[in-house]
């Protein structure tokens, strides 16, 4: 374990910070080197309070890549508490475009920010390349109890590392058009069987209306559905072993279900977030949208014509007696390992998402669905009655769903590849009404081929 530099007047502040960064880097690397399923978990030594005090009073500028709109107000709270630290927020694109730029900057060895916004699903894609900083030495572990359990397990590494701090989440529910359901006498489906029946009934009653749209380009929704069904599509152990099972029994059940509905032509399969899709939502072509908890606020902004007609409910269940939920979306704040200011960056990531005022601001100003237990129990938050949903307590519905999300779901260490492969196999089968179960097999083999070419040891589904 490297020694931490003692405060000495001979050391300049800059040098001290660099040394502290290097030390923690060394610690993190050690943790990685000793990693593996055999559980050689090396605990990282916490950074001393004196170092923290020193770092937080040294004038520093942090660069933070984020696509959160108007994040200046949350940053202002942090800068008020630590006036020496200035945080420069840069919008480098949302999701994939940001990751592409980040990867390029990391490869180039310069131009990477100190902090990034990163979705839960993308964390392993950046830990495999050793790009994120373990936040344990900076006191992150102490925050565990403040966050909803499944969100914390999503940001935790296999050896207990804390790779990021959860910011917002997307436990999946079903938004539905009460007026369309009423008009055609459709009940809110509680199970997927009822859902399939409702889809047939609705489309028969009005050929211009579909019960839902399962976007043929949206692997995140498919992952959320897998998650709810209890699938474990990607299980990694150590740094080089991965079990891929995207065509196991659970996946095939999903494939037969959704592929069947698509072939019958009773659901839509058009790509989401396109002009056509927005128009369809506004014009009532789709009676439900199965979406993460960020969906309600998003929809009220993009389907204004339909205000007051929507309601929220949990997703239909495979087993009504054992309700479960999946997650779609949500993001975190992570510190890039190459940062020269690890202490300030780590403290910012923690403050931004765990400070009561800052977290509440995200929920009330940016309409993020919270990751903290406190907010999900906050009467003023879950008691909100938006007019878009006819005064229904939508946040309360999704808070209930969040409690049912399985904490053990894992992401692959090469998400972009998996996503493209899904669209070109399973997505194609949905769009073209061909055999979705067979397409799952192609997806499985494409992922396997890619993983092997990248040097992974791939195990098939047990």
């Amino acid at each position: 374990m490297p020694e931490y530099p003692v405060s000495s007047p001979a050391l300049s502040r800059r040098l001290l910070l660099t040394a502290a960064g290097a030390a923690s880097l060394g610690a993190a690397l050690t943790a990685c080197g000793g990693g593996g399923s055999d559980g050689g978990s090396t605990s990282s030594e916490p950074v001393g309070q004196a170092d923290i005090d020193k770092a937080m009073t040294t004038p520093t500028e942090l660069t933070f890549w984020t696509w959160v709109p108007e994040i200046a107000q949350e940053i202002a709270l942090f800068e008020k508490k630590y006036p020496a630290i200035k945080v420069k927020a840069v919008n480098a694109g949302q999701g994939t475009p940001e990751y592409t730029k980040l990867r390029t900057a990391l490869k180039a060895g310069s131009g990477a920010p100190d902090l990034v916004q990163i979705e839960f699903q993308a964390i392993p894609t950046f830990t495999i390349t050793d790009s994120l900083l373990d936040l344990r030495p900076y006191g992150a572990s102490a925050l565990k109890s403040q966050f909803v359990d499944w969100t914390w397990s999503q940001v935790s590494g296999s050896d207990g590392e804390v790779w990021a701090i959860p910011q917002d989440t997307g436990p999946m529910g079903m938004l539905y058009r009460q007026d369309i359901f009423d008009k055609h006498g459709v009940e809110v489906p509680k199970t997927w069987d009822e859902f399939a029946e409702a889809a047939r009934k609705l489309h028969q009653a009005d050929p211009d209306v579909y019960l839902t749209n399962l976007a043929a380009n949206q692997v995140a929704a498919w992952h959320g559905l897998l998650w709810q069904a209890g699938a474990k599509p990607y299980v990694t152990s150590g740094k080089s072993d991965i079990t891929v099972s995207v065509d196991d029994a659970v996946s095939k059940k999903l494939g037969a279900f959704w592929g069947g509905l698509a072939q019958e032509g009773v659901i839509g399969v058009e790509p989401d977030f396109t002009d056509s899709w927005y128009t369809a939502l506004n014009k009532g072509k789709y009676a439900t949208w199965i979406v993460g908890a960020w969906g309600p606020a998003f929809l009220s902004g993009s389907a204004k014509d339909t205000s007051g007609k929507w309601r929220a409910a949990p997703m239909p269940q495979w087993d009504a007696a054992k309700p479960s939920a999946g997650n779609w979306g949500g993001s975190t704040t992570a510190v890039i390992r190459s940062t020269k200011n690890p202490i300030a960056a780590a403290l910012f990531a923690q403050f931004l998402n765990s400070d009561a005022e800052s977290a509440k601001m995200f929920a009330t100003k940016q309409f993020f669905f919270p990751a903290t237990k406190a907010l999900l129990a906050d009467a003023s938050y879950i008691g909100a009655t938006p007019a878009f949903y006819g005064g229904q307590k939508v946040n309360e519905v999704f808070a209930g769903i969040s409690a049912q999300v399985d904490p053990s779901f894992q992401w692959p260490p090469f998400l972009d590849q998996v996503a493209t492969d899904w669209t070109e196999t399973v997505g194609h089968s949905l769009a073209r009404k061909t055999d979705t179960v067979a397409a799952l097999g192609s997806w499985q083999s494409r992922i396997t081929t890619f993983a092997k070419s990248q040097g992974f040891t791939v195990k098939a589904a047990p």
Binding site: T100, R103, K107, I128, T129, A216, N217, K239, S240, E270, P271, T274, D275, S276, T279, A280, K283, K285, P413, F414, D416, Q417, A419, T420, T423, E424, G427, H428, A431, R432, F450, S453, Q454, G455, F456
Partner: protein, 293 residues
């Protein structure tokens, strides 16, 4: 005398130095680096290793790359003749001096070139929309079947339409400028010999346009084989028609930024560059050979 001879000699390199420096830094250096990268293989697990020409061997046998190259070649065969013919007609019509509002028309045809291709594609993507696009709405009103612009069989044509719309004005300007350089006495001589407007166009203007046409053709070869923006954007609307290897350039991009196979992407790009060089050279050879001695 000797002074006058030596001065230009020392000044010459100085004049081209700014160009050469930028050419080296911004063109040759990245090219060299890409060539270097293409000889390695980097894996997520196991790091980087030297593989020699393995990436090129894989690329030559890669069916996705082959399909992409064949597709852009097909696109070239469909789109370029139509576009150049239109550009030629517009240029001749403008040059004939018979059009009213010639300046307005010239500007109107050229304006799409000023629209960024991203914007143009988004606009056409909306127009093509099978549900709520204007063409679909119109045919719905007239109780006609909606046109399927975005299906497998129509897609190349729809892409060709976008690219033609974007670039016909650009090519027209090149041809029009070439027409303006034809000396007026040639026309006078032709008129004295009794040639009409069509005859002049055919026997005087077209031969004079040959170098300009060769140039536009060359640009079109390069542009077609590097087709990227348009399919990349339409992919978001119809992901089941346009996949990530629809064109060769799109495939190289996907390899580099989705699959993180930068080394292989570099090899694919080099091969694609080679294909473009060969085809361009073949065009130049044919054009020069056919030129009457």
């Amino acid at each position: 005398m000797p002074k006058q001879l030596t001065r230009p000699r020392s000044a010459g390199p100085l004049f081209i130095a700014p160009f050469m420096v930028l050419f080296l830094l911004l063109f040759l250096a990245p090219l060299g680096y890409a060539a270097y990268l293409s000889l390695f293989q980097e894996k997520l697990v196991g790091g980087t290793s030297f593989v020699g020409l393995d990436n090129y061997l894989t690329a030559v046998k890669d069916p996705q790359l082959r399909e992409g190259v064949v597709r852009v070649a097909t696109f070239f065969v469909i789109q370029v003749p139509v576009m150049l013919l239109l550009a030629l007609l517009f240029a001749l019509a403008l040059d004939s001096g018979l059009l009213r509002l010639a300046r307005v028309i010239r500007l109107g045809i050229f304006v799409p070139y000023a629209v960024p291709s991203v914007v143009a594609t988004l606009m056409w993507g909306y127009l093509y929309g099978p549900d709520f696009g204007p063409f679909a709405q119109l045919s719905d009103k007239l109780s006609l079947p909606a046109p399927h612009f975005l299906t497998d069989s129509w897609m190349l044509g729809s892409l060709a339409n976008i690219v033609t719309w974007e670039f016909v004005g650009y090519n027209m300007i090149i041809l029009y400028a070439a027409l303006r350089t034809i000396p007026a006495d040639l026309y006078e001589a032709a008129a004295l010999d009794g040639a009409g407007a069509w005859r002049i166009a055919w026997s005087v203007k077209l031969p004079a346009l040959r170098p300009a046409l060769t140039l536009t053709l060359l640009f079109s070869v390069i542009g077609s084989f590097q087709l990227f923006n348009e399919p990349n954007l339409l992919m978001k609307i119809v992901p089941d028609v346009i996949d990530s290897s629809y064109t060769a350039n799109l495939y190289a991009y996907t390899l580099a930024f989705t699959s993180q196979q930068i080394n292989y992407a570099a090899a694919v790009s080099f091969l694609l560059g080679l294909v473009i060089v060969i085809i361009s050279y073949a065009f130049l050879l044919t054009a020069n050979r056919r030129r009457p001695a």
